[in-house]
Amino acid sequence: MMKTIQGVGASPGVAIGPAFLFQQEDLSYNSYSVADPQAELARVRAALQTAEIQLNAIYEKAVVETGESEAGIFEAHIQMLEDPELVETIQKSIEVDRMNAEKALMDTCEHYAQTMEAMTDEYFRARAADIRDIARRTLRILLGKQMADLSLHSPSLVFAYDLTPSDTVRLDKSMLLGFCTAEGGATSHTAILAKALGLPAVVGAGPAILDLIEGETVIINGRTGEIIVNPDETTLKTYRQKMNSEKDLAAVELSAAGSPAITIDGLKVEVVANVGSVADSEKAIVNGAEGVGLLRTEFLYLERQTAPNEDEQYDAYKAIFDVMGERPVVIRTIDVGGDKELPYIDLGHEDNPFLGWRAIRMCLDNPEFFKTQLRAILRASVGHDIRIMFPMIAAVSEVKKARVLLEESRNELQANGIVCGEKIQVGIMVEIPAAAIMADKFIGVVDFFSIGTNDLTQYTMAVERTNKKVAHLSNALDPAVLRLIAKVIEEGHKGGVWVGMCGELAGEPKAIPVLLGMGLDEFSMAPALIPHAKAVIRKNRVTDCKQIAMDVLNLASYADVEAYLAKIKP
């Protein structure tokens, strides 16, 4: 009989398949008083060490499967295993209370888990799960037991009371259709992992899901949190269609992503990616990026105590340039300021870091620091099509000064017989209204403009990006912002320089006709958005788009723009 169970949608998507019930292995143990505490202590130490070796292997596997940030959870596990207080408490329980290793371990860990659970924040409840995960791992080693079977033999939906982070790493991802757990919230580890893998997941569905029969057909809807057990034919059909139409569309778009984006009336525009790592760049190519429109370099500078040296930067840039091969790459010089803080540069405290000493402003005042980056870029660009972009430009004089430093960097390298890339274009990120308004005066000084809509909106509307109270004013489709964009494109084309966009607006399907109509040459966006954006471009006609752009530029408000765009047919 068909039955619906309501859980919490944790990762969107619909999955249909047979249920695989995952039962945790039985790890019951005896409690007894030990005669030789030292021997018992040695057992615990050995088990903790083995657990650490296992976790290191799991971490490596997780980095490959889900990326470094999701794998970070296992680094936290390792740190917990090494916790001096944890080890000390276990030791005391054994030496003073004569507990056996198993009991000392589990009592200590459970104490911490319960402390975490008692805290209000959901984040801490997730940490309780982490402690229990390392406790079970170590206990299993102490008891000499094997891990519970998690091998999927056919594509399945995994149902479990709870999945520990290490359980999820063991699952064979090629057979996994989705997850469902009785416990957990929308920010639980299962949820985060499901999102990273792009699989639907429902969490917090209650113990009822454990009454399922192995192999029973189930539908899960990761958006609504619905779990439909034993669906009837009609329901199954509806969901299959829903699933297939979404999947088919995405698959069709992805298969066409490698082809250029040409409008119905034959205009070809460039669709490129915003990236910040080698992994992003690889993803960009798979998704049909024709190049990189924004390579962020901040990743090299953050989370460290000293500035990255030239060689280190060279290696990092070259690795990404090599992935892109002959495709053009726009690399943005460091863009940080008082909101980020670098231990090796005193940025000082600022009341308004977004209006302060940041990005190019800070770089021009620290020429040696800046030139280290410029030299690394010049060296790495040999054999590639590289374009250097300066962020946060408000005045022509800043570009001129930056260009002088760039030339000095080149001369220094060449004086030492070091080869530099040739024909490197130099451009600016247009994100300050002053630069947009004065766009014509930058002609002759720059080879391109790239519009950063996130900051351009922030500065045009005087809305701090992170302030929720004023967020309703922050829309890149506000006519005020659109007029600046149109102005930059117009002046760029008059002066013979190409104009791109690397802000979020470029990947926004409803904005694409407007931008095509204004004549934008290059659209740069997150790699995952590229296949769909290309599909949207191919459905448009520039002649129609020009009319759309003209109409929109004459509207009075963001609300009017929204209403207008909602009416036009894609």
Binding site: G72, E75, A76, Q79, M80, D83, P84, E85, L86, Y112, T115, M116, M119, D121, Y123, F124, R127, I131, E298, L302, E303, R304, Q305, D339, K340, E341, L342, P343, T466
Partner: protein, 90 residues
């Protein structure tokens, strides 16, 4: 015994990755290091203890160090906090 007071600025507080970095940094020093947040006290080298401090954005933490490298330890932890644990704003 030298001590300093730091204010947690990053959004998530002294949790997750920042807590991990804090504990790792403390672990580099020989001194005993104590972190105090309100009524809670924690061994700064213990991730489990530091997490249970419940230090959020805006929390003030007193750090006390006792040992030959106490001053260096306090300086390093203050610098780490100043760097905002390398957290990038979004």
């Amino acid at each position: 015994m030298p001590e300093i007071i730091i204010t947690i600025k990053n959004k998530v507080g002294l949790h997750a990755r920042p807590a991990g970095l804090f504990v790792r940094e403390a672990g580099h020093y020989k001194s005993n290091i104590l972190a105090i947040c309100g009524e809670n006290k924690a061994n700064a080298k213990s991730i489990l203890a530091v997490l249970t401090l419940g230090a959020n954005q805006g929390s003030q933490i007193t750090i006390r160090a006792d040992g030959e490298d106490a001053e260096a330890a306090l300086q390093a932890l203050a610098a780490l906090n100043e760097s905002n644990y390398g957290e990038a704003e979004k």
